[in-house]
Amino acid sequence: MDTKGYNLEQLKSFYTVMYRMRRFEEEVFEFYKKGMMPGLAHLYMGEEAVAAGVCAALNEDDFIGSTHRGHGHLVARGADINKMMAEILGKKDGYSKGKGGSMHIMAMDKGILGANGIVGGEIPIATGAAYTAKYLGTNQVAVSFFGDGASNEGTFHESINMASAWSLPVIYVIENNLYGISVDIRDVTNVENLADRAIGYGIPGVVVDGMDVLAVHREAEKAVKRARNGGGPTIIECKTYRWQGHHVGDPGEYRARRNENEKAEWMARCPVENLRKVMLAEYMSEDEVLAMEATVEEEIQNAVKFAIDSPYPDVSEAYTDVFVE
């Protein structure tokens, strides 16, 4: 990991955000294992460097579009983890009053256009937010996060084509974790790098190590700057990996088909652990890192308690919010 150009405060900030994501989802997983969580959740563990690196390149008023695997994007964007956790448990004090769950968390005050349960569903929505920014001349940008699977949906191609044709301020971040549930991207797509598709739309496409938060951040900053300056969209493909299966409860055994050590090899490159090692080696003592972690841990435990203590919504809530006034 090349830390050149970054100061300690920045590294601490990256680490805090990634550690918060990781601990948040470990608690989500616990809720699932204890049978306290309705339905399922798609965990982002392993991919933290992508959301942390990209979101650090954004301004407060920028937009992001997220996916079914969205907890990381939301935490990186500064969403309220109490309201997130309550929503994941289907509680009244959740972001959507328990109507959306893990896949539909939205927080417009943080520019979060929503997680989305349809693969590729949010790509045109984020592109539309970029259209608004261009139309109103606000200098905002939009980021669309999605996986390798979504890059084979029609909305991916349609959206990037329009964004390119009209120079919209949007960055398309492909989180290539190699699998769409069990299907290996290498078995269904005949390009080595999904970012190569950028050539077909006349825009830049870059491949980056998605396990290195600083590498992601450097590329995101370039793409954001280009978008803000009217240079149009960029595709950033982050090579990454999910620690868990498609969702909680999926052991993900299909990943041993090509290489039985595949998961272990990726986990050895843990983005959270690696940044911790760098900080310990060059900047901080173990005690100082532990103190940072303790602060995050307190937030996480508060969120867990908040979610457990929140009541379930009254059944009348099912009938509201279909329309607004």
């Binding site: 937009f63 579009g65 959740g94 972001y95 959507s96 009053k97 328990g98 109507k99 959306g100 539909h104 939205m106 927080a107 417009m108 256009l113 929503g114 989305n116 349960g117 349809i118 569903g121 790509i123 045109p124 929505i125 984020a126 592109t127 539309g128 937010a129 970029a130 259209y131 608004t132 920014a133 261009k134 139309y135 109103l136 939009a142 029609g154 909305t155 349609e158 959206s159 084509n161 329009m162 044709a165 509201t320 919010d321 279909v322 329309f323 607004v324 006034e325």
Partner: protein, 326 residues
Amino acid sequence: MREILYRDAIREALDEEMERDDRVVLLGEDIGWLGGNFKTTAGLYEKYGDLRVKDTPISEAGFVGMGTGMALTGLRPVIELMFSDFLLVAADQVINNAAKITYMSGGQVSVPMVIRTPIGGGRSSAAQHSQSMQAMVSHFPGMKVVVPSTAQEAKGLLKTAIRDNNPVLFFEHKMEYTNKFLIDDEIELIPFGKANIVREGTDITIVATSSQVMKSMDAAKKLEAEGISAEVIDLRTIIPLDRDSIIESVKKTGRLLIVDEAYEFCGIGAEICANVMDDVFYYLEAPIARIGTPNVPIPFSPALEFPIIPSVQKIYDKVKALVEQR
């Protein structure tokens, strides 16, 4: 009162709302330089420019989804889909996204977006350019569904649609675009959820949508000559549904016929029949009836197409049978 083409009434509504509110932005195929496939946006590109009257690529899911993103972030997009059949190309963005985002967010956000699109047979456009999609979209929660009849109705309801804070599906009948109507400029906005009794009668209630309102009126005139008095209700909006006006009318007439051009099976007629049954059952003098398009794909040849879509004659025949049934 002045005379106006239906398509020009649509254009006036768009123009007036764009003048009034610069957040109103149009997107669609061929709406710019060409002025729309049915000429409903003629002159707007020249007046408002490329960024507000945006010609899109043939990417229905893409540009409808963009509309949702624009609506979430402060604009009021009005999207034209060249034929309502193309709603199916964009169905995920319409039904799974635009219609549900308000609910999924727990009411945090709204999607003030209008999708305008033509419906109906009559042009030998065959199975993929002649369908009427109002029944299909009405099955899903989260969208308002508008089925205007005349030019006056189209203009007033479109202006209301653009000011509504929810996704609105606005169905224009393609056979009306070049028809002339009288329009009263004193009427500006026509509210949703308030059906219009366009003709009072005592023997039967005909609830109709879109072009079927005009066909029902023609049938009612013929029936009057035979001593049958038909009340004709222009439904205006399917969602919200003005069930009270229908119930009140049927209590008076004792008979109900629903006419909508979408496929009859699982259609608007079936829904209204079941929806009002509890309230009107003991007032009925004949079974509730419906006319729609039978469940076959719309055929190409006029020899096949015209006999299957609803017509003045079919309405006339059905009413006669219901009234004369004792």
